[in-house]
Symmetry: C2
């Protein structure tokens, strides 16, 4: 065997989020050999993203170039269709209605690409390297800029007839409700996501009279972290925002249980970092709305995986089934 056979086999993992894109070099066993983060530029051009990606990958690989062999690329991206390889109507992006992400990146790097919806990738990641190693029926919800989901039934990711299953961010909370980037109104992600709780906070600031630290922060400066911090410190508005978010998310989770009878939900993403302040009202409201046969049977976990490790999901798209 020549020297090249001693190189470590690596998947170049790419996790495209509405705000940041994470890239990393991941071994089959889940070891991360390096990672980087850069702004996605979802409101600018797709071409600009591709140029940035090329530069970032070059920087990522610079040190390890002679030690690794990249065998494939795994991509998690919002609204990515695993069959067509395109991002289809991604609501938080201005890259067009059908973004040829798989084809573009595959020809850029001359490597095979496996692609899935970012939340589907997260589900495969939890199954391969994370909390769901022993689970056959579970749902991952990523509560970030939007709300993504990945559904696993009988140990297998549900992809659907057109490769687009698992868009729970767009189930309806209120058909006359908040405008969603997707063009519909009252979608779940307009309530149960970092953006959603921020909108709830601003509704509460208008509705209620209570003093709140949050009254000093503009809409553009408000973050999920600030709301979480204030809730932990007892801010009435922030606490009420978590209660409302938990009520809506818990009741919708109960509807998903009525579809799938899963053993667990795994919450990930920015909003899940709030911990028990989010988890307690979600569990309470789920239980309240569960059909009798499911009561007390469904677990809700917060994934301890740091979001900088979202690339594990993208890598797992390739490595899963090769373990």
């Amino acid at each position: 065997m020549g020297p090249s056979s001693k190189k470590i086999e690596i998947v170049l993992a790419i996790d495209i989020g509405g705000t940041y894109t994470k890239i990393g070099l991941v071994e089959k066993n889940g070891t991360i050999r390096g990672k980087r983060v850069f702004s996605t530029g979802s409101k600018h051009s797709f071409q600009g993203f591709v140029l940035n990606l090329e530069d970032e990958v070059a920087l990522l690989c610079a040190e390890l170039k002679n030690k690794i062999k990249i065998v494939a690329i795994g991509i998690g991206a919002p609204n990515a269709n695993w069959i067509t390889g395109k991002m289809e109507h991604p609501p938080n992006f201005k890259w067009g209605d059908f973004v040829p992400i798989s084809e573009t990146i595959s020809s850029l790097f001359k490597l095979p690409v496996v692609i899935a919806n970012d939340a589907n990738a997260a589900a495969v990641g939890e199954q391969t390297y994370g909390m769901a190693k022993e689970m056959k029926h579970f749902v991952v919800l990523t509560l970030g800029t939007g709300l993504g989901s990945g559904i696993v039934v009988d140990g297998k990711l549900v992809t659907g007839a057109n490769g687009m299953a698992g868009e729970l961010g767009h189930v309806s909370v209120d058909p006359e409700g908040r405008s969603c980037n997707c063009g519909l109104k009252g979608c779940l992600e307009t309530y149960a996501s970092v953006t959603g709780i921020k909108r709830t906070v601003f509704e509460l600031l208008a509705e209620l009279k209570e003093d709140s630290f949050l009254r000093g922060i503009s809409y553009d400066s408000m973050t999920g972290e600030i709301i979480s911090e204030q809730a932990l410190m007892g801010d009435v508005i922030a606490l009420k925002a978590f209660e409302i978010t938990g009520k809506i998310l818990g009741s919708k989770i109960a509807d998903t249980v009525a579809h799938l009878d899963p053993e667990a939900f795994i919450l990930k993403g920015g909003l899940s970092k709030a911990g028990d302040i989010l988890l307690e009202p979600v569990v309470r409201n789920m239980e309240k709305n569960l059909f009798a046969a499911y009561k007390g049977k469904v677990k809700i976990y917060l994934s301890p995986t740091d979001s900088s490790n979202a690339i594990l999901g993208s890598a797992a798209l390739f490595w899963q089934g090769r373990m």
Copy 2:
């Protein structure tokens, strides 16, 4: 080979509904060799049902006794858990919280029993003998006394972690809405079922001033057939009731699409007999509420199978996979 080997192999199929129970003798190829219907007696005792069943099966088999060999029993029953073999918390029955249906019937007839939720059985029936022979991803909705559902993903019935998947009758339309037999409020089946449209009619009779044939009929005498007939004849109240039913069912179907990305829904049961009066508002409201990636891709069919053939689903639970 002895003479007994020439007997036709038959599954005794039992379809337990909230009002009627259908039994039949079904060959592997779906030929029905005989069938009977009797009142379920869901508001009386389970013991009474079992005694009736024994008598009815004896009558069913009387003529064919020497020509057939019953190899198994297939049962479709509301809230039946295919793992435990029990009907769990069936909301429209007064037979207890855990009805040991599989065990009781198996020892009564000394035959193996396969059991599933009646709507799950209907889904397997459509897959084995009906409209879904070529489909891999579809959902059956049975719109009868309640609303049942059976979900097929990748050609396989979704049964869930506890054997109780597919209870779409109990997703929430309005948490402050109509009382449901299950103890929750505002469940889908309190709107989109024969009972649901009847409740909608009575709400409209109270709310509106329009003349209607339906004003002369008591709640207890009102049926789905009467409402359908009147809608076909242009009765304003009846038409509006179908419009409301279609709006609610269509929007909830859109939510189910966001979970599963199925190719089709198949509507069955009493309410589906209304035909286009139901189908048109369901399709229109589904499309209106669909996330962009699904628009124009999901079909909704009315199953042409006569409901007296519901036993095919129960039989298919055994015959499927043996074809």
